[in-house]
Symmetry: C2
Subunit: 260 residues, 2 copies
């Protein structure tokens, strides 16, 4: 391959065989040299977990015989995949890390639970431009085909312009059976929350256990949010930072009696 082709690392949190990542790999092939390092099993809801007290495997795998690319299946989390890819597989920083396409939304508050986005954030902390892609359709056999062209367009724009310092992109697609995308909107993260319900059950041995379930509640009326964009047929793009400092709150905390 030409040395001038960008080196693109592809990962996800649904596992290396998920239809979402297979679509993302196909989308990246015309844009650069593609290497895949992705979890060997689904990792949804893993947040920014890393494996510190256990071993990691990272083995070559051939998922699709028709593809002339290197793929590796890793026993760790999405963030682990990025770390081990950069340090042990690629032996140099890739030009771009793309993660996804996630089966389900990572918009709004979902971003903090997202393994897909943790891979992008991990790359960001290493100074690598990174984008996480998600489709608002949980089904395994979701139709990802309509996302390919906008994914390629956004990726080309990222490779052309570079990424602002300290930022990665959280890109979400509305369910495509709602019709063609109306366009791409740069948004802020909607102020929403999950209102949990736990389903309380008994095991066959009589022990109480719980299943987490819940309802997504959007508390935000703004029309500049990712949730609004998605609800109205747009692709949402939120620049996400990993400096979590709430600068606006610093003077408020300084008004406390801190050093009595």
């Amino acid at each position: 391959m030409s040395k001038n082709r960008p080196l693109i690392l592809v990962t996800n949190d649904d596992g290396i065989t998920a239809p979402g990542i297979r679509t993302l790999i196909q989308a990246m092939l015309p844009l650069g040299e593609v290497v895949v390092v992705a979890p060997d099993a689904p990792q949804s809801g893993m947040g920014h977990a890393i494996t510190v007290n256990d071993t990691l495997y990272c083995d070559p795998i051939k998922v699709d015989e028709s593809l002339d690319i290197k793929e590796f299946s890793c026993s760790g989390t999405p963030a682990d995949c990025v770390k081990i890819a950069v340090n042990e597989v690629l032996h140099r920083k890739p030009d771009l890390v793309v993660s996804g396409i996630n089966h389900g939304s990572n918009a709004s508050i979902n971003v903090i639970y997202s393994g897909t986005m943790s891979a992008a954030v991990e790359a960001g902390t290493m100074g690598i431009p990174a984008i996480g892609f998600s489709l608002l359709d949980f089904s395994y056999n979701a139709d990802f085909s309509h996302t390919v062209s906008p994914i390629q367009h956004l990726t080309r724009q990222c490779l052309t312009h570079g990424m602002p310092q300290g930022v990665v992109l959280n890109v979400n697609f509305p369910k495509i059976d709602q019709g063609p995308f109306k366009g791409i909107k740069v948004c802020r993260q909607a102020n929403a929350q999950w209102v949990e319900q736990f389903d309380k059950r008994k095991s066959p041995w009589g022990r109480t256990y719980y299943w987490l379930s819940g309802e997504f509640v959007n508390l935000d009326q703004g029309q500049d949010t990712d949730q609004w964009a998605l609800d109205n047929g747009y692709i949402s793009v939120v620049p996400v930072q990993y400096d979590l400092t709430a600068h606006y709150a610093m003077p408020l905390i300084n008004q406390w009696n801190l050093n009595s």
Copy 2:
């Protein structure tokens, strides 16, 4: 107990028997009605993981016979503990969630990997004031005694003043063998990163595996950061937000050719 006593939920990521949480429970006893819901095993590095595809246990446990408080051991992550505590154990919002005391630093970039802080952030998303406490000492038998008085002071300030909207606190203590704390500093998160190294080994069956290790590298020369405060003997307090939007980057991304 008086209805006017604040209801304080205590959790952590090192597990319910870890010395850090036992110290934090003792520190909270004079301040309110204490309920403990914490992981049944260590969860370090779990980030904001939640358990969506598996069952959860949450059972009453008596860790310390001398304490007249309710404690529950949960099979989930720190974020799971907060969710299940609020929904199934307490049946009402607590007035405060405290998490820790973590055995090891959650300052700077460590915050994004932190199970301790994920519990605090989870509470924050529910509108509950929350503080995560960490001591820069990884050892199991670290001396936490010097942290009790400042933890009580900060907690009282939080209960008095309330927490700014959308914010939780990330409090880190320097190792106390460095001498008495010089004071409390409200800080921004230092721009630092982990430079990973993977230790590559062979299993007894000849399969290659890896251990993650790495070196913490502070890239930030500022004297207003948590890392500077800790290096200079201060307790660091960083207000942490879970709206991850990089507002400053939105106009930069809007300069891309998004809708061609």
